[in-house]
Symmetry: C2
């Protein structure tokens, strides 16, 4: 039983859409990436419209966030006003730019709020039952330390020349 190439592409795209949703991104983002990833040549906005069934508007905005994450690249041909988009195919590179992106995001500000909580506790300016205060202080500090560890890890990954199989293998070997 044979499969048509177009069908295969569609299934693949469907799969990436689900993965995208799983990670909390719009499923349209997944399908845009899939289409670009399977294309041997960069595609214009209208070609992506055609291939995904989404509208120009949607693609315009989602391609921008994909580009911010380093998952697609925008290029242009001389003497052609169209923009062209192509997928990054080095996922390890993408991971690094996604992490970099996230550093400046809301996540960091939320984490900062935990640190502020901790600082208030350390400054001794919080009024309330002493035993409870002590308990809460320990817990908040533990959380803070955990965040610091995560933060250290992501920063280390960002700084790498390249993540990639070699490094993954190294990590695996230490974990054994």
């Amino acid at each position: 039983m044979t499969t048509k190439l177009t069908q295969l592409k569609q299934d693949f795209t469907e799969g990436l859409s689900q993965i995208s949703r799983f990670w909390g991104f719009p499923k349209g983002m997944g399908s845009i990436f899939a289409v670009l990833y399977l294309s041997p040549t960069p595609l214009s906005l209208d070609e992506v419209v055609q291939a995904t069934g989404l509208t120009k508007g949607a693609i315009s905005t989602e391609v921008r966030t994909l580009a911010r994450m380093g998952l697609v690249h925008r290029s242009s041909k001389l003497a052609d006003r169209k923009d062209y988009y192509e997928a990054e195919d080095d996922f390890y590179k993408s991971i690094r730019s996604i992490l970099k992106e996230r550093q400046n995001s809301e996540f960091d500000s939320a984490i900062r709020s935990v640190r502020e909580t901790l600082e208030k506790l350390e400054a001794g300016t919080v009024t309330g039952n002493a035993a409870e205060l002590d308990f809460i202080y320990k817990r908040v500090r533990a959380l803070q330390e955990f965040f610091n560890a995560i933060d250290g890890l992501t920063k280390a990954v960002i700084k790498l020349e390249s993540l990639g199989m070699t490094n993954v293998t190294k990590i695996l070997s230490v974990l054994k």
Copy 2:
């Protein structure tokens, strides 16, 4: 300038809510966890209702998913029909059970769909332009390899006796 303990708790809870949303979970989940995490003693459902402002129903369901992820534990006192909930305070442990949880989830099925794509391509049962087929095969295979690497990593982490600062430090040292 001093802060009331209740205010501090509220701010902390607010912070965790944002973090929860950032990771694609309901913000209510974050606040439930925060309340439990700051409590020296396990809390009953009604106490959580009181502390979070959510309804019994919401808490009932969200506490269940928190428990599945190993972030909270349910316990009961003898001769007391109430359930009591308390937060896991070993986050490394939680990471491991979250990863374990995710293994059987939709994510895996989506990844499986990529593998299926690859298998069809390898079986040579796909009809279409040969050059394009070859290109697509290479790309899909690369993605598959990437997923395998990730999968290997998560499995390794799951298998660990315990993740924790020691291991994080080890990883960091390899990445330098």
